[in-house]
């Protein structure tokens, strides 16, 4: 979970843990990139507007590295513009959640994404980049 907003991290952590998901947190892009490289999580929930490195850059960096390119990315952002959504798709995102979102459902959304990736539907997910549990 990479977000510079403490309150958003707290929301996600509490609700994801409630769904039985282990959560690692980073409060800016650089920290998030380092954490992902080190820990190889099953999925990254990635904010876009952050200090140091923004979410787009983090996604590019992860995709450019063979070691991390398979880590699925779900963007979690205040940027609701269709152009931003397209950029998220181009950068390989498998989900795009616009704030404000429903944190209660975030756990099952992440699980659903992981199940479909398991089934080999990653590319379909990417192309029809799925919206998360928005408000």
């Amino acid at each position: 979970m990479v977000d510079d907003e403490r309150s958003i991290r707290l929301l996600c952590r509490v609700n994801l843990v409630a769904s039985g998901i282990e959560v690692l947190e980073a409060s800016d892009g650089r920290e998030g990139l380092e954490l992902a490289r080190r820990e190889r999580p099953d999925l990254v929930l990635l904010d876009v507007m952050m200090p140091e490195l923004d979410g787009w850059t983090v996604a590019r960096e992860l995709a450019s590295d063979e070691e991390t390119r398979d880590i699925p990315i779900v963007f979690l952002t205040a940027r609701a513009d269709p152009a931003d959504r397209r950029l998220g798709e181009q950068l390989g995102g498998v989900g795009y959640v616009v704030k404000p979102f429903d944190p209660v459902a975030i756990g099952s959304f992440v699980e659903g994404v992981l199940v479909r990736i398991e089934r080999g539907e990653r590319e379909q997910l990417r192309r029809g980049i799925s919206s998360g549990p928005e408000r």
Binding site: D4, E5, S7, I8, L10, L11, V14, N15, A18, D28, V48, M49, M50, P51, E52, D54, W56, A78, R79, A80, D81, V98, K99, P100, F101, D102, P103, V104, R135
Partner: protein, 697 residues
């Protein structure tokens, strides 16, 4: 004359003298004729006399006047052929005088006249000649048979010489008089047509001037803009008849294809002259219309002239002169005068039109020179025909470089600029399209519209770069504001959703954290909304300030105190005061400004560091500085950061949030408190904002 002459001879001489005296004072041809036919006839001891002259055509003899003949005898003799076998024709032909002793001799010599003048006896016909040129003849009839002895013959010849000279002189005088009148008329008319640029009005005056001297009727028709015939003026002495003529025109509008008359003259540019209007012509024009026939008959049209108003090869109109009830039929001289009049009038009309056109053109050019929109006129081949200064300024291509050249060559971006512009026909609403193009190395946003008028296209160009930038700033602001609102909203909404979960047992710490989150994020939302509102109020100048005495040190200390409540651990916040004096300001607004500046200092110091608030007095002012050691601001952004909606990082990808209104609001507020807000900063080394406010006096 000698004393030995007979009393008869002396008497003849006296009578001749008397005639000579009368002729000497006779001026007009009529006066001369009167003198000859009264005193001259009497002097010659004749019963009757007549004077005939050679007609203008050189083939007829025109009887000018007679006296003493029976009217019935003269019927049919007002004009007669020069080659007729009659005494007067013969004398004019030969120039030789004719002395016939008796009516018998007349009958023998001119069988056609035999027995015609029973009461006549001797007849004398003498030529009227000047400088050897015979121009007429005078006949004298006597009531007895006379053998004309040489003295008597000589007396008649002398009388004829006197008469000829007087008549020639008077005719010359009359011609000259006529010419002078004509010249005067022409001069007046020329002066009139040249005097005013309102040629319509002038031409009406010319028409008015033409009646009744030049015509009974005068009409002026002009060729309208679409080639239609427009009657400009009708003149007649009687205004009632003028009204009637206009009615007639309405009822019988001219057929533009008519083979004669005004339409024909306008079509061909050739004048028409009918010394006598042929009946067939009238019949053809009238057709079977009985009413029209009656009208034409009442008019009594005798003779007409229709001359074109032609200038530079174009027929602008036509002047029609009609001789009807009073004016004698037109002569060649009249026709020539009409042509001359039309020529002068046409030049004046043309001049006036040219002047008006050039003036209109000059006005249009003036308007185009100063209008802020670029105007480009292209011909059908895409060559530049007009290029106003604004077009030059927008495209960066000077008028001299553009004129006459294919536009795509001089402005490479032209196609990009205009390819999406819908061309509308004249009169339709233009449909401007705003296009971004690079012109002269600068990116410009240009609003372009185009009108296709057949012979080319006119484009209007408007540089909307600034408007576009402002519009972009506005839409950026909306996006920014929406981003800014989304995160606190997400926190508030998410916290509530989480707190309401019944399937999960939250720890006390988490529960407290969520409640605090709701409180702080709601406050953040309120602040952003307040700023948007305040900026709107500042724009509308609807912010009331309460300027009172206040202590800057106390205000600064309060700001520090509240900032410390949520200060990141990496930041140290200090207050330094150096002799603060009371100032005059709105305390709440000053606090608002300082809170914003301190917030910024903290926000733009992501690596932490020291933030210092310094208060001091200098040169009658109080200076309050907020200094940090954070990111700093590039020099070229120092002023722009105070612009509304301007953000150092508009995409906010660096995560430093804000509405883009904080510094704008700060500067506006400080300036309304008669102070000013400035910045010093170096990229990577931090910033120092200085609020300067007047001291309380």
């Amino acid at each position: 004359m000698t004393a030995t002459e007979s009393p008869e001879a002396a008497d003849r001489a006296r009578r001749l003298q008397r005639v000579a005296e009368l002729l000497a004072v006779a001026v007009t041809p009529q006066e001369v004729l009167d003198a000859i036919l009264t005193e001259g006839v009497r002097a010659a001891e004749a019963r009757a006399g007549a004077i005939g002259v050679l007609g203008e055509d050189g083939e007829t003899v025109e009887l000018l006047a007679q006296r003493g003949y029976d009217q019935s005898v003269m019927v049919g003799w007002s004009t007669f052929p020069l080659d007729a076998e009659v005494p007067m024709s013969e004398v004019i032909r030969t120039g030789e005088p004719l002395f016939l002793t008796s009516s018998r001799e007349l009958g023998e010599r001119y069988p056609a006249l035999a027995g015609q003048s029973r009461d006549s006896h001797a007849l004398v016909v003498v030529p009227l000649a000047v400088e050897g040129r015979v121009f007429g003849a005078m006949s004298l009839s006597f009531d007895r048979d006379i053998e004309f002895e040489p003295e008597r013959r000589e007396m008649k010849l002398t009388l004829a010489r006197q008469a000829a000279q007087a008549l020639a002189r008077s005719r010359l005088y009359a011609t000259e008089q006529l010419l002078r009148e004509r010249m005067t008329f022409l001069a007046e008319a020329s002066e009139l047509v040249a005097s005013s640029l309102d040629y319509n009005h002038t031409l009406r005056q010319v028409a008015q001037l033409s009646v009744p001297g030049l015509a009974d009727w005068c009409a002026i028709d002009m060729v309208g803009p679409d080639g239609e015939i427009e009657r400009l003026a009708v003149a007649h002495q009687d205004p009632e008849k003028v009204r009637w003529a206009y009615e007639l025109q309405d009822r019988y509008p001219p057929d533009p294809d008519a083979p004669t008359g005004v339409p024909h003259v306008l079509r061909t540019g050739e004048p028409e002259f009918y010394p006598v209007i042929p009946e067939e012509l009238l019949d053809e024009a009238i057709g079977d219309d009985r009413e029209l026939r009656q009208i034409i008959d009442e008019l009594g049209i005798k003779s007409s002239i229709c001359v074109p108003l032609t200038a530079r090869g174009r027929t602008l109109g036509a002047v029609t002169l009609i001789a009807a009830e009073t004016h004698p039929p037109y002569t060649q001289a009249d026709f020539e005068q009409a042509v001359e009049l039309a020529r002068r009038a046409a030049i004046a009309v043309d001049n006036a039109r040219l002047f008006r056109e050039s003036e209109r053109g000059a006005n249009a050019a003036r308007a185009l020179a100063y209008v802020a929109d670029g105007v480009a006129l292209l011909d059908t081949e895409g060559r530049v025909r007009h290029w106003n200064p604004a077009a030059a300024s927008i495209t960066g291509v000077a008028e001299d470089d553009a004129l006459g050249c294919p536009v795509a060559e001089v402005v490479p971006a032209w196609d990009a600029l205009t390819s999406h512009v819908p061309l509308v026909p004249p009169g339709s609403a233009a449909r401007p399209v705003t296009v971004p193009i690079v012109l002269g190395g600068r990116e410009r946003w240009v609003s372009v519209s185009g009108v296709d008028f057949g012979d080319g296209t006119v484009y209007a160009l408007q540089d909307v770069t600034e408007e576009h930038a402002l519009e972009k700033t506005r839409s950026d602001f909306v996006a920014t504001a929406s981003h800014e609102l989304r995160t606190p909203l997400a926190a508030v909404y998410g916290a509530v959703r989480t707190l309401r979960r019944t399937d999960v047992e939250l720890s006390d710490d988490d529960r407290t954290a969520f409640l605090e989150m709701i409180e702080s994020e709601a406050t953040r939302l309120a602040t952003i909304v307040d700023q948007i509102l305040l900026a709107g109020q500042l724009d509308a100048d609807a912010v009331d300030l309460e300027l009172t005495e206040c202590d800057p040190q106390r205000v600064a200390a309060g700001v520090i105190e509240s900032a410390e409540l949520h200060l990141p651990k990496s930041i140290s916040l200090d207050l330094a005061v150096d002799g603060a004096q009371p100032i005059r300001c709105d305390e709440n607004k000053l606090r608002q400004v300082l809170v914003n500046l301190v917030d910024n200092a903290v926000k733009y110091s992501p690596e932490g560091g020291r933030v210092e608030l310094r208060v001091r007095s200098a040169n009658g002012s109080c200076l309050i500085e907020v200094a940090d050691e954070g990111l700093g601001i590039p020099v070229d952004e120092h002023e722009r950061i105070f612009e509304k909606f301007y953000r150092l990082d508009p995409q906010q990808t660096q995560g430093v949030g804000g509405s883009g209104l904080g510094l704008y609001i700060c500067r506006e507020l400080v300036e309304r408190m008669e102070g000013n807000l400035s910045v010093e900063s170096e990229l990577g080394k931090g910033s120092r904002f200085t609020v300067e406010l007047p001291l309380q006096r």
